[in-house]
């Protein structure tokens, strides 16, 4: 079984319409843009492996929900970041790892197979594993409601979205900032 990355991303926006959503470079950002552009979409165009840590920084300065949409390849690159999420212990932070089993953005080469939920738990970060749209929506609602950060490992079908966020990279965080501070 595998969930649909579009449906799960749409479920994030539906459950937490005011959340800052920090999306991994490539497919996660393209899907987010296709689901719908919003001021608080913090699309990344680079820094593979740093998506989750970027979310930790955002979550420090706001009380709004902050949701990271990571990829399995990127999270593998900095798997120890789960310990930083656990250390920071922010109740407004949720990390979603979309595990499509590939480096989708670079052409679909297989990623190492990792039990991300177990890896997160081993670092003190509570985690859940899901593989359907309904399970994801329920797990996400639980994650948002809980008093502490957590990770959801979501097995998804590979997808190749058409949409792209703006190529004007500095505009993306500026817009998030204006939305949070004005």
């Amino acid at each position: 079984m595998a969930a649909d990355q579009f449906a799960c991303t749409a479920a994030v926006i539906e459950e937490t319409p005011d959340a800052v959503v920090v999306s991994n470079l490539g497919v996660a950002s393209y899907v987010l843009a296709e689901v719908g552009d919003r001021e608080r979409n913090f699309y990344l165009w680079g820094s593979m492996g740093s998506t989750t840590a970027t979310g930790v920084g955002v979550a420090h300065g706001t009380d709004e929900q902050v949701t990271v949409l990571a990829g399995d390849g990127s999270l593998t690159m900095s798997l120890g970041v789960c310990s930083t999420v656990a250390t920071a212990d922010q109740s407004n932070l949720t990390v979603v790892c979309f595990d499509n089993g590939i480096y989708g953005t670079t052409g679909g080469q297989p990623t190492p197979s990792i039990d991300f939920a177990a890896a997160a738990e081993a670092q003190g970060l509570p985690a859940e594993r899901v593989d359907s749209d309904d399970e994801f929506a329920a797990a996400y609602a639980d994650a948002v409601a809980r008093d502490g950060p957590s990770l959801i490992e979501c097995t998804v079908e590979p997808t190749d979205p058409e949409a792209r966020p703006t190529f004007d990279f500095p505009h993306i965080p500026r817009r998030v900032r204006d939305s949070l501070t004005e």
Binding site: F42, G46, S50, A53, V176, L180
Partner: protein
């Protein structure tokens, strides 16, 4: 005033909200001083995460600083080059620079000695502090310039300020 206290005062003058860091022996007293103040600290697993978290904090209106050793800044080059600089996410970095005067450990030399040049190549402004006397002002001015120009600024602290290990003597 100790150089460590000068840095803490500079960070307070600059109204830094968050310091992201991975410990460095030389900066122990600075970290203690910050932890006794109202400034929050976050220990990360890898310096790249310190850069990313400090960069992310900017979208909330906060001013963040990164503290690490030069080897840690070397660990974080891609986050600076593909996040902070191109997305215009400013931070102040305080980096203890190994690899130059007094260095005994050759493993610290290529990156530590070379980092100011690497920052130049990437268009990241920086200054190398060799004397502690004006540190408070330097930290304050570096932060002010980083946040008003919306670009990162790196303050390197040389061994002439922080002291150096004499293991090889």
């Amino acid at each position: 005033m100790s150089w460590e206290a000068e840095i803490v005062d500079g960070l307070l003058d600059a109204e830094i909200d968050l310091v992201t860091q991975l410990p460095d022996g030389a900066m122990g007293a600075v970290l203690e001083g910050i932890q006794e103040s109202d400034v929050d600290t976050l220990r990360v697993e890898r310096e790249e995460s310190a850069i990313a978290a400090a960069s992310g904090a900017w979208v909330t209106g906060e001013r963040a600083a990164v503290m690490c050793q030069s080897s840690g800044l070397a660990n974080a080059i891609n986050a600076i080059g593909s996040l902070s600089a191109p997305a215009r996410l400013p931070f102040l970095a305080l980096v203890t620079r190994r690899g130059d005067l007094g260095e005994f450990n050759v493993a610290q030399v290529p990156a530590g000695y070379g980092l100011p040049g690497m920052m130049d190549e990437m268009g990241i402004r920086h200054t190398v502090v060799e004397e502690p006397g004006t540190l408070r002002k330097t930290v304050r001015m570096a932060a002010d310039s980083a946040f008003s120009t919306r670009t990162p600024y790196v303050v390197f602290l040389d061994a002439t300020v922080t002291g150096y290990g004499q293991e090889a003597q």
